[in-house]
């Protein structure tokens, strides 16, 4: 088992209050594609960060089990985690541009990610980086390699982050909204690239996304989250026939290109979903 999460809880405490953002989540993953969808603020990103031990310092975390490839993340040292992060596990954060170093050009950032893992000369690494940028469909990879994060578009920043995370051939890729700033053609290419890595190199993928049709087409399984809990887990291809009222409600809120509606239905949140 690549990832095993049992009864994960994450709370924020201050002098006056306690807020439990993740309330007992269990998920596991092998060499497969798991989608996580659900409410904004339901704890998707926090769950991913917990697995990489990247939670804010004021977060209190407990779990019956939280492991990556048998390594207990809760008791792992910072040194052990550094062996995992960016090497054995790539993590594409939700705000990609803010996880890039603003004062280092893009070519150098991607080539260093490559070089720490694969070695070789700086020149070799830069060529590899340019190849990676090309693989994520950046139009003029050489020019972009020489630019700084503030000089690239939203979707280009996302692709740079993807290139960096794929550089060391990770065993696990956690991708938090990796394609939300990409047009459909580039998105399709990136997903094809990720698919290749999953099937050829047995990589595991956790894909966090608000794009239900995308997850349904691309992933194997999908977990639907609401208010810090997993409401249901189902085969991704079955997502459009989900039975849980929250999932059905979500699907009903989507605008459609082929079936226009004057006004979009909104979700009636049911208090029983909080406890069920």
């Amino acid at each position: 088992m690549l990832v095993d999460i049992q009864n994960l809880r994450i709370a924020f405490e201050s002098r006056s209050s306690r807020f439990e953002a993740v309330r007992g989540i269990s998920l596991s993953l092998g060499a497969e594609k798991l989608g996580i969808v659900g409410e904004s603020g339901s704890g998707k990103s926090l769950t991913a960060r917990a697995l990489m031990k990247l939670l804010p310092s004021n977060a209190a975390i407990t779990a019956d089990r939280l492991s990556f490839d048998g390594i207990d993340v809760l008791s792992a040292s910072e040194k052990q985690m550094r062996q995992i992060r960016g090497k054995r596990a790539g993590f594409i954060l939700q705000d990609p541009k803010y996880s890039l170093n603003p004062v280092m050009n893009i070519g150098r950032q991607v080539s260093e990610a490559w070089r720490t893992h694969k070695g070789g000369s700086k020149k070799q690494a830069l060529e590899a980086a340019i190849h990676l940028l090309d693989q994520v469909k950046i139009r003029n990879p050489r020019e972009v390699a020489a630019s700084y994060p503030h000089e690239v578009s939203g979707g280009m920043g996302q692709r740079v982050m993807i290139a960096m995370m794929l550089a060391p051939d990770p065993e696990l890729l956690i991708a938090d909204e990796p394609t939300s700033a990409l047009d459909a053609t580039v998105q399709a290419e990136i997903l094809r690239l990720i698919e290749e890595l999953v099937s050829e190199r047995n990589m595991g993928l956790i894909l966090i996304s608000h794009d239900l049709p995308l997850v349904s087409h691309f992933c194997d399984r999908v977990a639907v989250m609401y208010s810090g809990r997993v409401m249901e887990e189902l085969k991704a291809s079955e997502l459009l026939n989900a039975r849980h009222p929250y999932t059905k409600g979500l699907l009903n809120c989507m605008p459609s290109l082929t079936h226009p509606r004057d006004r979009l239905p909104v979700l009636n949140r049911d208090a029983s979903w909080l406890t069920a």
Binding site: D95, S180, L182, S256, T258
Partner: protein, 246 residues
């Protein structure tokens, strides 16, 4: 309400917007879709007065916009940025972020406006005294939308405003934008990669590829597949393909 004529924008010696023209009537909405990196955000930033090195004509309400905008401009025209994290001051609370424009423009009832703005974008009132990093991605994006709405603008430039939102919150925001347009005659320019979102809110759509607006068509034609440029056709085909069950 909005006229853009032969807009050209360059960075150094690279031209990234190569003569783009479109116009939008008051109370209408114009959608911009297309290739990642094709210049969509750059167009919006120039319109919002955040980039002073452009050529061509940008006019609001028939009035050509000067390179440097007068302060009153920012009350009438507001922009929601693609990367909300970067556009929210990290050391200011949400309360402070939302108060800024109303204070600058000497507006009254600021407290009431903030309460209303938070509820308009479906944020809990508890978010008011948090900092941006204490919110989720979608919650931050909603703060950015609330900040744009709070000063009662006439024109909203929206860059991927719902891409970090789950579809239930997205539906609430899209309905809110429709209602405001109806009630106050707001005019929108909406950039999004989601064709269904674009067609839902916008009557007319422009398609960008490599710095050029290669096609303009109505939302009905986009829905019906009456596209003429290959890029538009491809984007539509992929979008319709995903709408079908897996």
């Amino acid at each position: 309400m909005i006229d853009v004529e032969n807009l050209r924008i360059r960075f150094g010696d690279r031209e990234v917007v190569k003569g783009v023209s479109f116009s939008v009537k008051k109370g209408d909405s114009f959608g911009i879709v297309g290739e990642s990196g094709s210049g969509k955000s750059t167009i919006l930033r120039a319109m919002a007065g955040l980039n002073e090195s452009w050529e061509g004509r940008i006019a609001f309400g028939g009035e050509p916009a000067a390179l440097k905008r007068p302060p009153g401009f920012f009350r009438r025209v507001q922009m929601v940025f693609q990367d909300p994290y970067g556009s929210l001051h990290p050391r200011q609370t949400i309360d402070r972020i939302l108060s800024e424009l109303p204070l600058v423009h000497g507006m009254d009832n600021i407290d009431k406006r903030i309460v209303q703005a938070l509820s308009d974008v479906a944020l809990p009132q508890a978010a008011r005294f948090r900092f941006p990093h204490q919110l989720s991605g979608g919650q931050r994006q909603r703060v950015a939308i609330a900040r744009a709405l709070i000063a009662d603008p006439q024109v909203l430039l929206l860059d991927e405003p719902t891409s970090a939102l789950d579809v239930s919150v997205q539906a609430e925001i899209l309905n809110l934008l429709s209602d405001l347009r109806e009630a106050r005659g707001l005019t929108y320019i909406l950039v999004s990669h989601n064709l269904a979102v674009i067609a839902h809110l916008c009557g007319q759509v422009g398609v960008m590829l490599n710095g050029e607006m290669v096609e303009q068509l109505s939302a009905e034609d986009l829905r019906a597949g009456k596209t003429s440029h290959a890029h538009t056709t491809e984007l539509r085909t992929l979008s319709v393909g995903l709408e079908e069950p897996a």
